[in-house]
Amino acid sequence: MPTFVYMTRCDGCGHCVDICPSDIMHIDKTTRRAYNIEPNMCWECYSCVKACPQNAIDVRGYADFAPLGHSVRVLREEAKATISWRLRFRDGREKNFVSPIRTTPWGSIKGPAEYAAPAPEDFAKQELAHEPEALNISGGLPALRRDQLKVGVV
């Protein structure tokens, strides 16, 4: 179900260009609005649909299973940490879904660039970058003591 852009809604902010994992959302050279340059390469991840602050991106279903006339619309509410879906079928039926998408407030997770760059010796360690601090586990990483292991295994 490739995405398409309502040109009157889009203000050309570029959020969809930034987030698209297939790099197929581009800015039109004449109108400076977003558009999907390669709809058949869209993997329907809905990243751009959810990220668009103007709700300007919609999804068009393939005609074999979602005949023309249907509509899939998404509303992401950052303050509530929810995502709502409204599906309207061609025969007029409608389905609405609401899902929580976060357990922490929006913007509370630090991005990779906000952490200090790893030191060269960190690359030789077993832990990933900023572990174990980044795991927020008091007392370090959990590990089995020798007396907890089966006799004869070690």
Binding site: T8, R9, D11, G12, C13, G14, H15, V17, D18, H26, I27, D28, K29, T30, T31, R32, P53, Q54, N55, S71, R73, V74, L75, E77, K80, A81, T82, S84, W85, R86, R88, N96, V98, P100, R102, T103, T104, P105, N136
Partner: protein, 261 residues
Amino acid sequence: MFTNNPFAGLSASIPPAVMQTYVLIMIVLVAAGTLFDIVHKGSARYFFDNWRKSKSAGPWQVGGGELVSLAVKTGLVDVLASGEFCSARRRVAHLLTMYGFVIYVVTTAVMVFGYPTPATPTPGILPLLWWIGGLMICLGGYWFWFFIRVDVVAEGNSPFRIMPADLFILSLLGSVTLGLIWAFLQTRASSGANVFFGLYIIATTVLFGSVPWSKFAHMFFKPAAALEKRVSYANGTRSNLPGPADKPERFGSAREQPRHY
């Protein structure tokens, strides 16, 4: 320099009637270009089709009083305060450019038609406003061009890469920048003033003459689209978007506090 009417100084070499005719031609070019744009792209037909569809599809009817109130809100929030922008930086840049353009164009017209020669002394405030308007356009426009433009910010292209979408902003910045340089050189009695005046006229003609190919007409159709959006929210269609979520009332699972982070 800031209280000197540059058009009065020009009247020695160009008759005021010629300047006034040029301004009128520019107004006609904008009106004709916008009409051509509307007919050629079918934007008016799209707008009214959408309007009709949205009106009949909504669970509620929007009355005349409510429609007036929505139009006023659109005018105050979406047009006068550029409320549709989601990015504060883009909004500030747009406000600077928009109000700068309005001040610049109005003061230009008043000076050309009201005070075209040194015989009718220009009040000092008019050239001052003309300069302020021009500098506001430059500030907002160059900020947008070099730092905010999505081709540079999101697509990572060079700020000097030019494409058809840049016709409006480049001709606007060219016209205003060259106009300010011309006015500055004129007060210094520099011989270069005539060269910059010629370039200023070329850039201004491109700005107002390229309406069908540039995004100049957005100042007419953007408010219409903003009003249609407000009406769709008022009559319940919400452009088919889902309504605001009423749950969850707090973050995390409804049964337990989050403990996995």
